[in-house]
Subunit: 224 residues, 2 copies
């Protein structure tokens, strides 16, 4: 059974990659810089997006696309924080977004005024890493209470992302977490990765993240 299954997955992936390239072209044409945000359930994707939108919506037009198995709780939060557009994709059981879903969501947003599109993937540390969406950059959020062994146990996702946010650093005094061990695992898998330590709850470390995002948007070739 296994070989058949693998070949089906490969066929889906190559169709996905073609569509991802089309999504990228559409975003580039509209001069929109885009992020794919991945994490375990509860690591703080929605909270980080909310904090980012709140802080930057006076300077940048931000759109958010939220992927979830069910509910529109996340898109509601993004809209409430000041996103110019917020679209919820309910995957109906699928454990990740794919390029088809993004291609269906993009026409629901008027991209012309948008500076940055933040795509919140389904909460899952495995599957989203296998499906390119066509976004310009990928961000993984890891959170302190998840434990320091995560890079070793989920190497695929830590390997493919461009940026790592370590969230919930306010919980460091209350949980066992060896930062050195965690970072050694991350850096072995992904030596070039950018790392931000922060707490969406207390706001500690958010400044550096926000300055970095803002700079990315201004530096991006698509900047108007």
């Amino acid at each position: 059974m296994t070989p058949t299954r693998i070949s089906v997955v490969e066929k889906i992936l190559s169709a996905n990659d073609r569509l991802a390239a089309e999504n990228r072209a559409r975003l580039d044409e509209a001069k929109v810089f885009s992020l794919n945000v991945m994490a375990s359930p509860g690591a703080g994707k929605t909270s980080l997006i909310e904090a980012t939108v709140k802080a930057l919506s006076s300077k940048l037009n931000i759109a958010v696309i939220d992927g979830d198995i069910a509910t529109s709780l996340d898109a509601d939060r993004a809209a409430a924080s000041g996103a110019v557009a917020a679209v919820q994709i309910n995957t109906g059981g699928e454990c990740h977004l794919d390029a088809v879903m993004l291609a269906q969501a993009l026409p629901q947003i008027d991209l012309s005024p948008i500076d940055i599109l933040i795509v919140e993937n389904v909460g899952n540390l495995v599957c989203p890493a296998s499906f390119a969406l066509g976004t310009h950059m990928s961000v993984l959020i890891a959170s302190i209470p998840e434990g320091d062994d995560k890079p070793y146990k989920y190497p695929g996702t830590f390997h493919i992302v461009d940026t790592l946010v370590i969230n919930k650093i306010d919980l460091l005094p209350y949980v066992p977490f060896r930062m050195d061990y965690f970072r050694r695992g991350v850096e072995a898998l992904n030596p070039e990765i950018d790392i931000f330590l922060l707490s969406c709850k207390t706001g500690e470390g958010l400044e550096a993240w926000l300055a970095w995002i803002e700079q990315l948007v201004y530096d991006h070739p698509s900047e108007r």
Copy 2:
């Protein structure tokens, strides 16, 4: 593309269900009671299994099968805590265990002296729920820092499990978590579910969980 994909998934599932039934028959024949433990990455699957094995290994012969994308960190911990047998399944990228993998792992254990087999699924709140393994009971671990919206956002898994462990209750003072809201979501999806609140770190609440597991093993028709 979608219809083709769905029919492939259905074919895999029905093959999986047949194999799950064979696994169950093999476990029943050997008089082994078995648990399928599911959770997000970092919710505390390995810690709960470790605490359970440590506390009960003087009374029960426990075997542990650990599913992970990579590494044998979890099986090493299970073996160190006193499990009679510990087998690691590296799924090589697959985001869940399935009945085929369990069927391959079972012959690696001498089941005859085993009272209880604990299967630790891959850390994922979505995919494992779709693949029966053939175990007698399923346990979901949710942890306080993941947030109180998880039943609403991952309804599939909360709906199908028999038992819910709410772990890391020692972090309740440090994170926003509305227990009422969380429990309302759980009970709407799964009114009959058994719920345990505990902290693997402090040991609070572990007694009730351990007594329940021990009772299950003794009450099970397979008890020798």
